[in-house]
Amino acid sequence: METTMSTKAKNGLGVVSIVIMIWTLIPLLWIIATSLKSTAALADPSQNLFGNFWPKHISWDNYKLIFSGGASDLFLPALWHSIVVCVVSTFISVVLATFCAYAISRLNFPGKKLILTTSLAVSFFPVIAMVTPLFNLWRQIGLFDTIPGLIIPYLALTLPLSIWILSAFFQQIPWEMEQAAQVDGATSWQAFIKVIAPLAAPGVFTTAIIAFFTAWNDFVFSSNLTAQSAQTVPAALNFFTGASQFVQPTGAICAAAVVVTIPVVILVLVFQKRIVAGLTSGAVKG
């Protein structure tokens, strides 16, 4: 492959990527800036720098409000629900998808193609169309406003995608790895655990992160299928109120948004290296 690139092309790419970075960073910076403004600064541009962008005096009032103030009743349970729902649905999704994808990539059985195409089709369903029927059904069978009531639709959302990604990953791992392990004296289970699973780890992490984000960022299901006892953060933000009826809760909402973004950033930073594929290089001839 040609790796040398003309200086001109490099500079051009550099400029383009800087533009894209600014484009995506500005809204995030704006949210952070807003979350640090006091109620007064929110309404008065003269208390801010750079044309109403950054507050002259940083205020932590909004964070106090959501963690210990008036909004904490709403925010803290929602944060807890978010964590539980996302961790559980990610875990189930990854485990099920790993076994399913392994079977799809290794076994020849009738209906294999059907499973794959169905799962791809399902992940294209417009979620908003599923919400109303689910709402009615959940009301009747008592799943409305419960944690499982959220986990199930999230699984429906993330499983197809996870199966799809993971089967692509398993298909890349040469069959012979496993056969070599069996000849070396491993049972099928040992071959899977000691050889295939470590090789598929980057795929599993990628899938886990995608599954986690899908659930973590969901608004449609959470706002429609929960009321109180299972509401997650994106839906709860909707119900924030200001300090008084006449104050907009902008600052508090921004503070909450910053707080829920942090886990996402940490996850990406921690698993960045593991997501990089190519771990299988060197397995076979070079």
Binding site: P174, E176, M177, Q179, A180, A181, Q182, V183, D184, G185, A186, T187, Q190, K194, V195, P198, L199, L279, T280, S281, G282, A283, V284, K285, G286
Partner: protein
Amino acid sequence: MSSIELKHIVKKYGDGFPAVNDVNLDIKDGEFVILVGPSGCGKSTLLRMIVGLEDITSGELDIDGKRVNDLAPRDRNLAMVFQNYALYPHLTVYENIAFPLRLQKGKHSDAEIDQKVRQASDMLELDEHLQRKPGNLSGGQRQRVAMGRAIVREADAFLFDEPLSNLDAKLRGQMRTEIARMQRRLGITTIYVTHDQTEAMTLGDRVCVLKRGVLQQVASPRELYEQPVNLFVAGFIGSPPMNFLPARVDGNRLKLPFVDVPVDGELAEKVKGKDVVIVGLRPEHLKDSTVETAPEHSVKFNAVVDQTEWLGNEQYAYIPYEADGAVRKQLEDLDRDLDGEGLRTQMIVNLDPRSRVIEGDEARLAFDPAAMHVFDPHTGANLTRDDDKAAQIAAESEKLRKAALARAHKREVEQAEKSA
């Protein structure tokens, strides 16, 4: 230490085509057996059935007299080196070699494992690479790691599936002798699959030639070369390959494209009543009669040389000819079976390097009719095969094999005494 016995082994894949058909083979303890044949002839399938990665459709596979058809690979205690090595990329070289030992739970202590791994790495000169990952090794080093993983565990037999086909020519030569030395030293039953007849000839105690799933001949390399049973074996073994010339039978004479050869005695009896036969003549049996003295009774003829190749220690001349219509189809089929390219028919002559024949010259050639192989064009059977001679060669080869094993064993004992 094991003997392996294959009885009427058949393998049919989903489409019902027998990839391996009724193979019978008796492999003795400590023997080095080669499975050879053009690609797609079922060598890998046969090997994978022995190791247990492929179900046996019918027939019986015995190891040390015990039927193992239904045993899982891990219960057969065989070690295998795969064509593309199949090393575990997430483990270091050390852990790759230790892998089979660690799976035998409770059988080896850590110290024992360490000692065995180091012994194998010492033998394969992998000591300085033990902590590296396979991805950072060269092709030859990976190959040795794969062998280390196979020898560390004291398996009953080694199975190799084209282990050298991914290496370059020079390394291939080195590893070939390395494998031969290791096998003699360890004295372990070995089955080695290759499509390369040179590897087959140099490594094997006995070579099994396969064609489309059917065993053609099982014999020592020398017997295969000198007494092939049929056209296919004769064409497959030897490099450059045997020349096949169409010959019309005319009373007591065979009319070859360049010359008429008188036949008598037994052979005359066998070709009687046939219209045409195929004559096989190895390139080295054709001599340039101007620089070499041809053997007695040689027939001499002149032919125009189209191309010559001088390689220093030997020289090849290419002489095109028109194949006779009556056997052209047989020769084309044979060419296809041997993975040939269907190029024009030409005779290859292995000339003495002193020969000064150049392209376009008329060369004076001679050969001894006794060196000819004569094949039935329809069955492909070798009409000139001498069974007594073949049996004699087989007996000699077996004696040589036993002597080599004993020698290797003696050297091992001496080494052990010296180091003790």
